[in-house]
Amino acid sequence: MSDEEKKTDVAVLRAENLTKIFRDFWRRPKVKAVDGISFEIRRGEVFGVLGPNGSGKSTTLKMILGLLFPTQGSLEVLGRSPKDVGAKSRIGYLPEESYLYPYLTAEETLKFYGSLFKLSDKEIRSRTDQLLEMIGLTHARRRTVGEFSKGMARRIGLAQALVNDPDLVILDEPTSGLDPLGCRQVKDLIQTLSDRGKTVLLSSHLLADVEDVCDRIAILYNGRIQAMGSIRDLLEERHRVRLTFPELGPESMKAVLDNIRRIAGTEPDLDHPRKDLERFFLDVVAEARKQYEQHSGVSGSAGFAGFLSSDGTREKHPSKE
């Protein structure tokens, strides 16, 4: 299936005038967390919800999952009401906070979450193994989750969200607590899921993460959508152009700049392009890893779980340029 076929106009999620008012013990309105928002997410899209704390991001996600009930408005998830339990078999959810059973091991945790879906025991075992390998925690499979660092627990959380190979993946702050390698892996995973035609809805405070992976974003403030659209449309400065070329000698450079001044009638900005810090960090770590084979904590990932990769076979971790 080509990317174009995978990304269709079929709406996976549709919200219409969605409003959520939280009430106090006496049922009096306390706070309007979400205030009449409307949006639509199409199949294969990676949609980001951004906003400061208390802007209504998590409340919106929880309404989509049927954990909170809208005060007003309508919601349709995968063609059904969020209250419909059946629809949830096609959804994967990574909550924002730590929520795992501390006394269960990593393996038991994934098997438990797998057992909540219509999967055979053999399939659950197989997916558990693949997911543990994918998140680099195979060596810690028998350690209880309570002993894990925040990053390791986050990885287990991500694995449980994918155990059912969901069509709609909802990730609340997916890179929270992860090291830069983990963040990169999560972003690559989101891209892989999107390439497979999965729809991803994520909320994050980390704008760079959202910019890297999202097709479209909505910015929430005070429960309302302040801006919504594709990353390109929202961020592109259409009246300005940037040229990048190899460094020229002083005379050639002067000639180029003179031409630009003459044609554009303005002074151009001139600087050297920089790597972003994430790319630089990943390069340094990759170099260090070659020299020092052994490392502690999370081991290197073996790529994506077979059942999540596009052709059903194990796929090596794609490195983004």
Partner: protein, 323 residues
């Protein structure tokens, strides 16, 4: 579809039971209850031949109160805390209905309560035998119980040390097993140390009494589970304790006015009357509790259980899971 629901139910209930017995507070209360019953005959003095009765009454009271405390703590750690920590949200975001989640939580906690009540009934039977002789202690009954309980805790410490197994749940399991083994071992040995036929020196009429208390504990657990969907531990425990107290004096508070006042009749009807489950006095003078009475009391408990659980499900289904 049905098989899938059953599978979800058993996994959730099983996990709830495991999580409950892994709570240190659950082990602490269980150990306190069982060891207290085990050593009670050794602590009594000047009992004027009433030691057996005192042990029996104290043990059943402890079963009732211990059941209330453990049930409330377990309900709050399993539901209230899970809702606040987001664990419940992670499960309810899967294809698990709220009713199933709620009932599985109750089933898991109930399994632990039944195990606890069984152990308490056995420990009470052993201790009643220990104290059944005036001015003498039946060490052939007391020793295996006390020794095996201590051995159970020691074994759990060893499994924790050598195999890194969770101490609390292992200790709970070993403790229950220890009481059962102690009951069986003592059942074959008479007070004089000679072999006898099985349970010849036990008062088996204690079991129906304990069964009735177990029913009451399950009703209280259902109340605690329902309250824990919205309240923390302190209000849940307070309300359950208040219900226990009011239910114990329900005949006095409401029963005598029920015929004249509609409000009293209503309250008398909806508040469980725990006196129906507290029939230990029927054993005085060698009496026993008829099975037909147990059947009716069981039906009474079932009606309350169904009502309380239905109410709990109804409110949980429309509740925001806000974690």
């Amino acid at each position: 579809m049905m098989f899938s629901r059953i599978k979800q139910f058993t996994r959730l209930a099983g996990l709830t039971a495991i999580e409950t017995i892994r709570q240190p507070i659950c082990l602490l209360l269980t150990v306190t209850c069982i060891l207290f019953v085990a050593v009670l005959p050794l602590l009594l003095a000047h009992q004027l031949g009433e030691a057996g009765k005192m042990v029996r009454d104290s043990a059943f009271s402890l079963q009732f109160i211990g059941g209330l405390l453990i049930g409330s703590f377990a309900a709050c750690s399993s539901i209230s805390s899970e809702i606040r920590s987001g664990t419940a949200a992670s499960i309810l975001s899967k294809p698990v209905s709220r009713s199933l989640f709620f009932l599985a939580k109750f089933a898991g906690i109930s399994a632990v309560m039944i195990a606890l009540c069984t152990a308490m009934a056995l420990a009470c039977t052993i201790s009643t035998r220990t104290a059944s002789f005036a001015y003498r202690i039946d060490w052939w009954a007391a020793s295996p119980l006390i020794a095996l309980c201590i051995l159970a805790l020691f074994t759990a410490a060893l499994t924790n040390y050598f195999w890194n197994r969770p101490f609390a749940s292992d200790a709970f399991g070993f403790l229950i097993a220890a009481v059962i083994i102690a009951f069986v071992v003592s059942a074959f040995v008479g007070p004089d140390g000679k072999l006898t036929s099985f349970a010849a020196h036990y008062n088996l009429a204690l079991f129906p009494v304990s069964l009735l208390i177990t029913m009451a504990v399950l009703v209280l657990t259902a109340v605690a589970v329902s309250l824990a969907t919205r309240l923390h531990i302190v209000p849940t425990l307070s309300l359950c304790s208040a219900l226990l107290l009011v239910g114990l004096i329900s005949d006095y508070l409401f029963g005598r006015h029920a015929a004249d006042h509609a409000v009293a009749a209503f309250l008398y009807g909806i508040i469980p009357n725990w006196q129906h489950f507290w029939v230990v006095d029927a054993l005085n003078g060698g009496g026993s509790v008829p099975w037909i009475y147990i059947g009716w009391a069981g039906l009474y408990a079932l009606v309350y259980l169904t009502g309380v659980l239905a109410l709990g499900i109804a409110t949980f289904r429309v509740m925001d899971v806000r974690a």
